[in-house]
Symmetry: C2
Subunit: 230 residues, 2 copies
DNA sequence: TACATAATACGATATTCATCTAAGTATGGA
DNA sequence: TCCATACTTAGATGAATATCGTATTATGTA
């Protein structure tokens, strides 16, 4: 028997359609109740409960109890990154309806990746920040340059505060639809929350989809000279 | 139901222990017979045949028939890269014996990754070539610099010939033990074969393990100033 | 031809495990 | 106190599939 990393340990958890659906739903980074996840995965609550217990045991998700509700979320951004990588290696879903096709297009355009922005828009923004010399790519991380420090400060991002968080600061996160990297980590999250605060983007309930508002379009254009194609 | 890439399609193939063992064995990049693979995965030939058929159907492996033997190999280096990425995301194997422990240490030191070198040695060599300014990292590729062109030519590597091959030229391949990148692709393969030709490294039958010979140790030292710790 | 080896095909078995029904626990509100 | 809701647990069921014994095909060798 050849010694090798225990591939099955990870893949067995993801190989099951219902669990995959639950995890895909949780990739929006939000908390969801067990019933919500059951509905999203098209299974009965008992079955969802069974899968959620298994995922929790394996430290893939965590649970917070409030009253009679149990709120589930991905355990951390490392799990989210892993899932995003596996997605980037997997075939695109079979599209069976016009509705699914348009949903897929929207996700490819802009979506959440756990707690930051992903999709074409995110990759464009990341590239633009690189070209402007605000960040530099170094292996799996982006590094904020001196110019970048000024830029992010001007934009109202507290780099010092973010860097104190117990997580990757500016992870180069793999984008499954664009098959390249976008800015993740604490900095990616900081920007994401700033965009929300400014009303430039909006999340939708029970979906990873992100909508760029009209303020967002002009905002991104002013900030980066970036034209949003929708 | 949330639209997302079909994770299960890929992971279901890897979730089964016997198939995982077969694929791990094939990561040495060599052809293996069905019986060999059955033995390596500790299953009967019929069972191996069943799994091999399934893997072939899904274009994970290819088969060449010679006489009464069937030789199986990974389909291409894209499959190998995918497997290596999944391995880098998976937990290290549980080590149950001194023998396994020493085998793991050897693999972490130097092993084949499909058709090129992986492990600590490979990562060190890659870093050294980067520091010497022979190659530069650009996203998922390494780029050969002008200085690098001279260097590789001196070392007897035919860059023009390699670049004509219908595959990635110098892929930045993920190393599961070192959790960083080493040089893969056609250039990685070219160097690997040159090391073999020079007698610097030796492969072992039915193992991914690579042995650095004494010529290799002095060779790598002369070429890169790199001291091999064994 | 006869026999040994490599591999696959087929059928039976066993195991794993996702799913559901039914029942039970916990919580909040009337 | 009673009921509705959210969720889990337990047990039964069924489907998928990995495995192996047996048989068959293909090839090489004596």
């Amino acid at each position: 028997m050849i010694i090798h990393p225990n591939i099955s340990a990870l893949t067995a958890l993801l190989a099951e359609k219902s669990r995959a659906a639950i995890l895909a739903a949780l990739m929006d980074g939000k908390f969801h109740t067990a019933s919500e996840l059951a509905y999203m995965a098209s299974i009965k609550p008992q079955t969802a409960s069974f899968h959620l217990a298994k995922l929790e045991e394996n430290n893939i998700i965590i649970c917070e109890k409030h009253g009679r509700f149990r709120y589930f979320r991905l355990a951390n951004d490392e799990v989210a990154n892993t899932l995003e990588i596996i997605m980037s290696l997997s075939p695109l879903p079979e599209v069976r309806s016009l509705n699914q096709s348009s949903q897929l297009k929207k996700l490819e355009h802009a979506r959440t990746c756990y707690d930051h922005l992903a999709g074409r828009v995110s990759v464009n923004l990341t590239n633009t920040m690189q070209q402007a010399g605000y960040i530099e790519r170094n292996n799996k991380e982006f590094i904020v340059t001196a110019a970048g420090e000024l830029f992010f400060k001007d934009f109202g991002i507290d780099l010092v505060g973010l860097s104190k968080k117990r997580r990757s600061f500016s992870h180069a996160c793999l984008d499954w639809s664009e098959r390249t990297h976008h800015l993740g980590g604490a900095l990616g999250n900081g920007l994401f929350e700033k965009y929300i605060e400014l009303g430039w983007i909006e999340t939708k309930a029970n979906s990873r989809e992100i909508v760029i508002t009209s303020q967002g379009k002009s905002g991104f254009k002013d900030l980066f000279g970036l034209e949003m194609q929708i």
